[in-house]
Amino acid sequence: MTTAGTNPGVAPVLELEGIHKQFAGVAALRDVRLRLYPGEIHALMGQNGAGKSTLIKVLTGVLEASGGQMHLDGKPVWPGSPLAAQHLGISTVYQEVNLCPNLSVAENIFAGRYPRCGLAQGWRIDWAEVNRRARELAARVGLDIDVSRLLSSYPVAVQQLVAIARAISIESKVLILDEPTSSLDDDEVQKLFEVLRRLRDGGLAIVFVTHFLNQVYAVSDRITVLRNGTWVGEWRAAELGPQALIAAMLGRELAAQSAAAAAAPNFDTAAPALLQAEGLGQAGQLQAVDLRVRAGEVLGLAGLLGAGRTELARLLFGLETPDRGVLRIDGQTVSFSSPADAIRHGLALCPEERKTDGIVAELSVRENIALALQARMGVRRFLSRAEQTALAERFVQAMGIKTASVDTPIGLLSGGNQQKAMIARWLATEPRLLILDEPTRGIDVAAKQEIMEQILRLAQAGMAVIFISSEMSEVVRVAHRIVVLRDRRKVGELPAGSSEDAVYELIAAEHV
């Protein structure tokens, strides 16, 4: 492998042109191109559903393109499988760490391609060689760890680097990182970036997919933007400012964020609470919490990860059973033994984990949207297929869900569209109180904004909302009142218009 600098005179190591890809009748990619030069970090940007993941899958042999050309070092290639792509020198590190926690670091790095020795090099695994080379590779990504220890004994950040070490241990020319930073904290991200820069300087071409704009500018040399499955453009990172980048991704200027904040509260502060919790808690999960929400009010639940926000939501919704305190709805004491009970009282919960607790991937968008309403109506009062279709089409339109048809399996939709469908599922039940647990996580800027606007519109119409988010700026922007949690207990309440700093202060208070 030859190494070269980032000067544009060098020939690209990988070049994709006119890539097409069809899915279930929908064109996921149309005439998309991508050029990678040796020794550069290339950010691949776009909203959810723009085609980034599809492009990467074509690039890594997971999917077969419907059309187009791919040149590696000037020669036409077409990886037919992920393995073939690896042999060509195209390596990938996926968003979730795809390693075996119960194997050692060295085993993880070489699993499936252990160096052999004895009887003409095919007989048994050369463990000394495995460990020696694993140490070398670990050092290359800046890790000084005992490679013979179990992977699970190291934190996620280290595991991420191990995944990179595994990827580059094959003679790599191109390294693809699909949202590598989503589970890392700031220090860990910086460390990862150092490693990436070092690998870049070694001549590797790195494709970097992320949702965090600041990270793009921190580390990448050039940017390719996709939108709705088409190629928008390719820029040097220095030439494309953040505003221009967002405009390229959205295809329009970003609406001022004040649009959301403008929503005035539409509730009577003297009105009795729709839902009231007194000393609600569960041993080991949440200490006694007092909470009240009125119709038309957006109550923000703020706190760091693990502060007990999700636990509180689960208690309110009957997913967990509280062992202390009382819950009242319209002043009547209630106790929920299952979500079905809570739903009957007009509650709805859009859970944090969309994939595991939300969507039923193989069922259609129509069935997914109708599910909660149907569950509320019971087995016998059946929504006919026509009624389900009408319901789903109404929400697809109202929420702007992008799908080929309402009969498309929801698993085929992008994350943001799945999330919109989940909210639609709950709006279909016409809830009095909607609990949204991290409704904007993992979705792009535009979808985020749309979802926030929807929430505020609903509150205006008289629905109570409990809004949970780890993005403090979001919480302070939409909430009429903010309940702050820390270490699984409530530490205070703040009025509307509080600053992010006020929330952080409350979290940090007594922390010393």
């Binding site: 279930a24 959810n48 993941s53 599809t54 990467i56 899958k57 997971v62 999917l63 077409w78 990886p79 037919g80 393995l83 073939a84 042999h87 996926y94 968003q95 979730e96 699909d178 949202e179 919704f317 997913l319 299952s338 979500p339 079905a340 739903i343 919960l349 859970p351 994939k355 595991t356 607790d357 939300g358 969507i359 039923v360 991937a361 193989e362 069922l363 259609s364 069935e367 109708a370 599910l371 909660a372 149907q374 569950a375 509320r376 019971g378 087995v379 016998r380 009062r381 059946f382 297929r385 009969d407 399996p409 698993g411 085929l412 992008s414 994350g415 799945q418 599922r425 039940t429 993992g442």
Partner: protein, 377 residues
């Protein structure tokens, strides 16, 4: 999102996930991706049907009178009628099994429940040699047998839905214990039934067709209506595909699972009545032996994946008919008894491979390989 997309796409290639019973167009769309020129070939029931027709053709080839039917003693008579009559118990058990499997479960106790129901009915009808008196009125005996079968199903359902046991372990308990219970009821003997009105269930005829056929048909029709005209089908699929999400959406998953096992128990109970009536006896040890395996096989052959979710009732019926036709073929072709299980296994294996879209795709790739651009070093 990247993983989700891939998962769901690969999910579509799965054997069982060819589409739902309740909404056929999706099934066709999913199956359609694998080409196949004829429109008919894209239907998810195409392969099970082809298999059944193939087996019927083999039977006809070796036995010219196989398709022959005639009117004798006031009813239709022939090999096909015989197969249908004998398939009825398996069809019933397979329908119950389909619902259990759709909820991500499995019920391996059905054979034992067949034996228990048969034993209860036989004991209550009694072994009076005169043949005209029964110990208890026959309707009472039938209701008692079905009631016990329902209890068996509820027991399984409670262990799975309430206690949270793994379905295969939960039903293994009754699979083993059930044979003991059946033998306790029969006193360790084979109870011979002489009360002739009882024989009508398993060997009587109505409108010239076996009565058992009507029983299977009624159960099928009721279940079909239940899953297509109520939300049962949607709920069962949701629970089978993603139980957590279904629960969060307000589906009463536990009740649904309990009901599925209870239904499976009742189906096995009816099958037990049919079998004991047909052989005029109840054998605690052998009645319904290995029926659970045939039923699981029938469900799988019909295109329902063992991983739960999407299911097909029609598919399971066809699967049961395939197995009964195969059994018939093995006997009528004179396969030596000592190897007939092996022959059955080989045929079933071949059929399974043929029905697997992955396998067919692999074969297609192998045939295409020489023209594909070679990038693998």
């Amino acid at each position: 999102m990247s993983e989700e997309l891939r998962d769901s796409i690969e999910g579509h290639r799965g054997t069982g996930f060819a589409g739902p019973l309740v909404s056929p167009p999706e099934g066709e769309a999913a199956a359609g991706r694998f080409g196949g020129g004829l429109h008919f070939m894209r239907h998810r029931l195409a392969w099970p049907l082809i298999t059944l027709l193939l087996l019927l053709a083999v039977n006809t080839a070796f036995n010219a009178s196989f398709l022959h039917m005639e009117w004798r003693d006031g009813h239709l008579y022939g090999s096909l009628i015989d197969i249908l009559n004998r398939a009825a118990p398996l069809v019933l058990v397979s329908l119950g099994m389909t619902m259990v499997i759709a909820t991500r479960g499995i019920d391996i106790s059905v054979g034992a429940v067949v034996a228990i129901a048969a034993a209860v009915a036989a004991w209550m009808i009694g072994g009076s040699v005169t043949g005209s008196v029964s110990r208890f009125p026959m309707p009472l005996a039938i209701l008692a047998a079905l009631g016990i079968a329902l209890l068996c199903g509820l027991w399984n359902g409670l262990l799975v839905a309430r206690v949270g046991m793994q379905p295969i372990i939960a039903t293994l308990i009754l699979m083993v214990a059930g044979r003991g219970i059946a033998q306790l009821i029969t006193g360790g003997q084979i109870i011979t039934i002489y009360y002739s009105p009882y024989f009508f269930l398993g060997s009587g005829y109505l409108l010239g067709l076996p009565f058992s056929l009507f029983i299977a048909l009624v159960v099928f029709a009721l279940l079909y209506l239940a899953v297509t005209r109520t939300a049962l089908g949607l709920f069962v699929q949701a629970v089978g595909i993603n139980p957590t999400a279904a629960r969060v959406a307000g589906v009463q998953a536990r009740r649904l699972v309990l009901a599925a096992y209870a239904f499976s128990g009742v189906c096995a109970g009816i099958a037990g009545l049919l079998i004991s009536s047909n052989v005029k006896s109840a054998d605690g040890n052998n009645a319904g032996q290995l029926l659970e395996l045939d039923a699981i096989l029938a469900v799988t052959l019909g295109g329902t994946a063992l991983t739960g979710g999407r299911f097909s009732l029609v598919g399971s019926v066809i699967g049961a008919l395939i197995i009964q036709t195969l059994t018939y073929a093995i006997y009528s072709l004179g396969v030596p008894p000592e190897i007939n299980l092996v022959v059955k296994a080989v045929v079933v294996f071949a059929v399974m491979l043929l029905q697997s879209p992955e396998f067919r795709a692999e074969i297609a790739i192998l045939m295409r390989r020489p023209t594909a651009p070679g990038v693998r070093p």
